[in-house]
Symmetry: C2
Subunit: 212 residues, 2 copies
């Protein structure tokens, strides 16, 4: 929609990603249509090829942006919960570590429910080496996966997770959380009332903590 007086756009690459993110937000990865993104950027379709090899490259960039939003949602949730729990006494360090993991999980799941299109775009298969790059990270520079992993390190440091079980634990946690997200947005649990979803989250959290 944006029109322009200069011949050069100035920041076309970012504009295309931004348009792609909005398309993905509404309609998931399939809605990231190259021509539509260029239209919204006020540019002719071929202009996109100066910044992306092809549609998949654009989609990949959109995916990274979506992963970054997910990471930010998780960071935000942990920050909120930290506010509610201002003081950590000596043994309370365990409680803090535990609360952090719970907050991350909840942030992950509520992002999936609030932004299903973006969530699906974040995990578009394609060639993702991109899952662990800078662009996929949140404000703190850590990706969603990294946030979970670090939380498990904390848990392990507090003695709440036996060291012999630490290796690979992030895969178990991520699998459970991601799987639940899929169940909630496109599986048999979609369309659950918010209250019911909360309860499912609670149960999942307990099962994860037992499983660690």
């Amino acid at each position: 929609m944006a029109t322009r007086d200069t011949y050069r756009h100035g920041n076309l690459r970012q504009a295309l990603i931004a348009a792609g993110v909005e398309l993905a937000r509404t309609g998931g990865p399939d809605a990231v249509v190259l021509r539509e993104a260029t239209r919204q950027a006020g540019v002719v379709p071929n202009a996109a090829y100066r910044h992306f090899d092809d549609r998949r490259a654009l989609l990949s960039a959109v995916s990274q942006a979506a992963l970054a939003e997910l990471a930010r949602a998780m960071e935000l949730r942990t920050a909120e919960e930290a506010d509610e729990r201002p003081e950590g006494d000596e043994a309370g360090a365990q409680a803090v570590a535990r609360a952090r993991l719970r907050a991350l999980v909840r942030g992950y799941l509520s992002f999936a429910r609030a932004e299903p299109g973006l969530f699906r775009a974040a995990f578009v298969t394609s060639d993702l080496e991109n899952t662990d790059t800078e662009a996929a990270a949140g404000t703190g520079g850590r990706t969603a996966f990294r946030l979970l992993s670090d939380a498990l390190d904390d848990l392990s440091a507090c003695g709440m997770l036996p060291v012999e079980r630490r290796p690979g634990a992030e895969y178990f946690v991520w699998a459970a959380v991601h799987g639940m997200a899929v169940l909630l947005i496109e599986g048999p649990l979609r369309g659950l009332l918010p209250g019911q979803a909360e309860e499912a989250e609670q149960r999942l959290l307990r099962a994860i903590e037992r499983g660690l």
Copy 2:
């Protein structure tokens, strides 16, 4: 490619689904192209519209067929393991129930690794009410999800799963298993050597059993 002498095809609907399944096997859900399926069935593109409302309806049917293959893979695995463990003494009923769950999980994960395209097609979002229909079931008439659920019932009957934790447990198990499958085929765990994948499966199984 199949040519025909009769004007009527005879079984076009099934032929289109079969072609769609093969396309999905090779290239995932995006490869299920309506025109290509009709080409393989030796028919003009519009003929498909006598049997499916649109491309998404075809994809949905392909998805159900893929879910059925998944269920059959899980059934097959449990049957194999049951052979290896011919006799169940009185307390061995617990061992049998436990082995069944493990076999189902392994069947799920090895199907995902062996047929990633089909696996992804099976879980195409769309309008799936279809996840729980007859067409999505295996030879025994039960869907993949149902198989897991029934195995948990057995576990609960043996006293290996406290009754108060039974409700919702299938969601935890399915989430963990499905999440791990995604990690293995398109997440950070893709490209693991078969041996490493086995080890990850083992760890996941232990975590699930602890979490129950």
